[in-house]
Each structure stands twice: as structure tokens, then as C-alpha cells.
């Protein structure tokens, strides 16, 4: 069954002469439990698609449905229980004045959970951070640790889909390996569906089974990872991108 179905999605900013079409008529499907990648250069619209799915983009048209249910312009709270997002910059995605405990506690509270303390401890455990980190502030955490907290926050409402916006591009290579492994583990344990945006083809090749290549707001090609690995891309832009990444 399709976890995520995106049809003719267009997203734009501004009106009239100032209008910028960030995404144009994009279509793709992600099956339950699958991991789908969105690749492209900066300005290709890949992050905008994620934001539109999450409800962070105001002007969009087309049809998005999650687990068969169509998504409306204003998202009900139940939407955020199924779909969550991990942001790109770990240095900007945590409130500088809130401790880890506050971040996770508030999220759990907003989703109506009662056993907050126990869940905070378990979440930290699931992302590989011990109890020592619970009351730290973001400036006392490294980039990798902050990203783990961001992942814990996204997992708190027990979602089915995780949207990942370049989750490791701001991290060191060795830390990236840890975070990617963590995401793989979490996906296997919880049966999550991933939609991952990245400019790094090898990361997408490692984490995803299918991917869409974007250029200037349009999806130019959708391929599976085997095709990617064998460098058998069809569209000329995909070929260019592959060639530049080796």
C-alpha cells in the first residue's frame, strides 16, 4: 500500500511578477516501509517538496496523500503523529535555550502522551544518547549529538514516515556514518518509511531503494538504486550529476 502519494505537486513563492516556481508538477510514490531519495543541486526544489508535504509551504497545488488519506491545506494534529521531519542543520534545529529534556518533553506533551519521563529516557536510549545528555543544552552538544536529539524529537510521536532533509550534510564523515547507521537501525526496528533529500549521491545510494533526480523544480527521472550504481541513468542531467559525483 502506498505510504506517500504525491501527484502534480507545484509549490511557488510570491505572486505575479515576483513569483518563483520552486517545484513544478512533481509526481512520485513511496511504498510503506520503503526509503525514497530526492537528489539534485541547490535550488532544484528537493527540500521544498519535503516542506510542502509537512505543511511548511503556503502556496501549493496538486494532491498529496499519506497512507491513502488525502492531505488538506491545514493539517490536523493526527497528521503530525504520522509524518515527522528531521532538519538539515543540527546547529539550527534545536532551540538554544531549551535543554534536551525540555525539547523531548514538550513534544511528548503536545502529542498527548502521559508517561513523559519514561518515554524521554527511552527515546534518548533509542538514539544512542545516555541519561547524561538529558539535561544538557544544545551548545553543550556536538553536531552529531544534536542531530540525534533532532531524530529523537522526530520519533517521539511514533510516526510512520520520516522526512529527512540532508540529515548528515553538516556533519563530519565519521559522524555521518554513525547517524546513517542509526537511521538504518531505526528504520528496520520500527518499520519506518523514509523520504530522504540529499545532494550526495553516495549517501542516497546507501540509504535508499529508489530515487528521483530533480532539476529546477522538476523531477527529470525516477530510478532505482541498482540503475544508479551501474551508472545507467537515462536523462542527460542525471548522467551529468552522476559523472560529477564520482
Amino acid at each position: 500500500m502506498n505510504m506517500l502519494d504525491v501527484k502534480d505537486l507545484s509549490v511557488w513563492f510570491g505572486t505575479g511578477n515576483d513569483r518563483v516556481d520552486a517545484v513544478r508538477d512533481s509526481n512520485f510514490i513511496v511504498k510503506r516501509g520503503a526509503s525514497f531519495g530526492l537528489v539534485g543541486e541547490s535550488g532544484s526544489g528537493k527540500s521544498t517538496i519535503l516542506r510542502a508535504i509537512m505543511g511548511l509551504a503556503i502556496d501549493w497545488s496538486g494532491a498529496i496523500s499519506v497512507a491513502g488519506k488525502p492531505v488538506t491545506k491545514t493539517r490536523p494534529k493526527s497528521f503530525y503523529k504520522s509524518v515527522q521531519m528531521v532538519f538539515q542543520d543540527p546547529y539550527a534545529s534545536l532551540h538554544p535555550r531549551h535543554s534536551v529534556d525540555q525539547v523531548l518533553g514538550e513534544t511528548l506533551y503536545l502529542h498527548g502522551f502521559k508517561d513523559i519521563d519514561a518515554r524521554v529516557v527511552k527515546l534518548l536510549d533509542d538514539v544512542g544518547l545516555g541519561g547524561n545528555f538529558r539535561f544538557r543544552y544544545p551548545h553543550q552538544l556536538s553536531g552529531g549529538q544534536r542531530q540525534r536529539v533532532a531524530i529523537a524529537r522526530a520519533l517521539a510521536p511514533e510516526p510512520e514516515i520520516l522526512l529527512l532533509d540532508e540529515p548528515t550534510s553538516a556533519l563530519d564523515v565519521s559522524v555521518q556514518a554513525e547517524i546513517l547507521n542509526l537511521l538504518t537501525d531505526l528504520r528496520n526496528k520500527r518499520g519506518l518509511t523514509f523520504v530522504m533529500v540529499s545532494h550526495d549521491l553516495s549517501v542516497v545510494g546507501h540509504m535508499c531503494e529508489h530515487l528521483a533526480v530533480m532539476k529546477n523544480g522538476e523531477i527529470v527521472e525516477i530510478m532505482d538504486v541498482a540503475t544508479l550504481r551501474e551508472m545507467r541513468a537515462s536523462h542527460p542531467y542525471s548522467k551529468e550529476l552522476l559523472a560529477a559525483s564520482i
Binding site: E41, S42, G143, D172, V173, S174, V175, Q176, A177, E178, L180, N181, T184, H199, L201, S202, V203, G205, H206, M207, L228, R229, E240, L241, A244, S245, I246
Partner: protein, 284 residues
């Protein structure tokens, strides 16, 4: 021939919790070659670049036995003498042109200023030279670019402009601190090939600071790998895949690869002995 000789460079930052050593006993030489300094954040690679140009301000403390530029010891020079060295003899290109170009001056004004700081040229001579330099970095509508402001330029153009500005005084050494990290993949190639051409044509030495092992393996001649302020390995770029040190191997193995799929990536387990061992010398 050796352009730069760095011996036993230390950079220390005193803080409330004690003294933090950002760079610990780094030594290397640079000839007319492309030398890469690779490391993760906190390894001290950017600090090394800045220390050579004496750009580190107090409370940072920089010490070295010697940093000699073709025989002249940079550590002995006064701030005024260093101003003559910076730009003229050693130049630096940084990561993001958004932050290194002055947003309120036109590009032409900035390049001309950079040129006239180190030569006694008149404004019109400087203008002609600037146009030449922009053409050398493959910017074709140079006149229009001279009149434009930095925010009107894309990342790749901005970086090429930066390179033009830094190379116009014809320095002997270029230090490039992550020059392509803020750029898209396709533009990276272009910028790298421009750096390559200019450096080779002018017989300059290049110090290329980066976190991207694969990139430097392709682009540079020799690689110094830094960890925790020390150089842990020195090798030829061609032989990077055969590197010996466990840290280098760990870094190479933790990268996901399209041609070698794995279920899980190898995670680097840090051995404290790596930071305790003395720095490997990169001197030839």
C-alpha cells in the same frame, strides 16, 4: 624547491578550563606542488592555514620553531611586515564567497583595491588588470561583473571572483580553505580546474584544506591527514587508498560508496593513542 617550511607549529587557546591546543607540533614543507591538509572539524586544519598567515589573534598563541617563506622567517616579522606578505606572497581563499566578499562594494572596486594594495598601479591600470584576471578565471562578461555586487553572483561565480582577487597580486603560495565545500557538485569541478590551471601556470604552491578525502585524492599531489591537532599520516595522493594509519583507513571506510554497497557503514572507533602520538612530519 621549497617555498614554505613549517617547523613545529603550535596553536594554543587559553580558556577557563585550561589551555586548548588546536594545533600540536605540525611540521611540513611545501614546494611547487598541491598539498592537501585533510581532517574533520576540530582537527586543526583551518587553524594551521591561518597560523601560517599569522591571522590568529590573541588570546590565541602561535609558536613555531620556524615558518620560513623562501628563507624569510614569518614568525619573526612584525604585523606591518606581515601585511606585505599577505596577499602579495601568500594568499588565502575561503569557503563561502557570501561571507568573504564585501557586500556593499562592487566587485570591480574590491578587485581593484586588492591590486592597488600591493602595487603602485593607477586606477585605470588596475581596472585593465582586473578585467584580465576575471577572464583568466573564465568569467566571460567581465565588464558587467565588475559593475555588479556580490549578492548578484552565484556561489560558483563568487568563488571564481575570490580566486581572481586573491591571485591578482601574483602570490607564491595559495592557501585554499575548503574552497568548494559551499558549492554544488557540478560547479566544484569547474572551480577546481581553474585553481589547477592558475596554480600550475604560475608555478605556485597550493595548500588545499578540506574534509573531503576523495576530492583531494583526485586533485592534489600530497596529502597530510590531521587528527586532534596532529598530523597522523602523510602520503601521496595517488596512494591514498593504500593508507596505513587506522584513522585514515577508518575515514575511507566510513564513506558510503556507490560502487561498493554495504548494509552498514564502518564506524570509526577513536583510539586515544592517535592524539597522544607525536605528529608525523610532512617535511621533504
Amino acid at each position: 624547491m621549497t617555498l614554505l617550511d613549517v617547523q613545529n607549529l603550535w596553536v594554543k587557546f587559553p580558556s577557563r578550563q585550561g589551555v586548548f591546543d588546536a594545533v600540536r607540533g605540525v611540521s611540513f614543507t611545501l614546494g611547487r606542488e598541491r598539498l592537501a591538509i585533510v581532517g574533520e572539524s576540530g582537527s586543526g586544519k583551518s587553524m594551521t592555514g591561518r597560523a601560517i598567515l599569522r591571522l590568529i589573534r590573541p588570546p590565541g598563541i602561535v609558536t613555531a620553531n620556524e615558518i620560513s617563506l623562501q628563507g624569510a622567517d614569518l614568525m619573526q616579522k612584525s604585523e606591518r611586515q606581515m601585511r606585505d606578505v599577505r596577499g602579495q606572497r601568500i594568499s588565502m581563499v575561503m569557503q563561502d564567497p557570501k561571507f568573504s566578499l564585501n557586500p556593499v562594494m562592487t566587485i570591480g572596486q574590491q578587485i581593484i583595491e586588492a591590486y592597488r594594495l600591493h602595487s603602485k598601479a593607477s586606477k585605470s591600470e588596475a581596472y585593465t588588470k582586473a578585467l584580465e584576471m576575471l577572464q583568466a578565471v573564465s568569467i566571460h562578461n567581465a565588464e558587467r561583473v565588475m559593475r555588479a555586487y556580490p549578492h548578484e553572483m552565484s556561489g560558483g561565480m563568487g568563488q571564481r571572483i575570490m580566486i581572481a582577487m586573491m591571485l591578482i597580486p601574483n602570490p607564491e603560495i595559495l592557501i585554499a580553505d575548503e574552497p568548494t565545500s559551499a558549492l554544488d557538485v557540478s560547479v566544484q569541478r569547474q572551480v577546481l580546474s581553474i585553481i589547477d590551471t592558475l596554480v600550475t601556470d604560475r608555478g605556485m604552491g597550493l595548500i588545499f584544506i578540506s574534509h573531503d578525502l576523495n576530492l583531494v585524492a583526485d586533485f592534489c599531489d600530497r596529502v597530510l591527514i590531521m587528527y586532534s591537532g596532529r598530523i597522523v599520516e602523510v602520503c601521496d595522493a595517488k596512494n591514498l587508498q593504500n593508507a596505513q594509519h587506522p584513522y585514515t583507513r577508518g575515514l575511507l571506510n566510513s564513506l558510503p560508496r556507490l560502487d561498493a554497497p554495504r548494509k552498514k557503514l564502518e564506524v570509526l572507533s577513536r583510539d586515544p593513542s592517535w592524539s597522544n602520538a607525536p605528529s608525523v612530519s610532512g617535511r621533504i
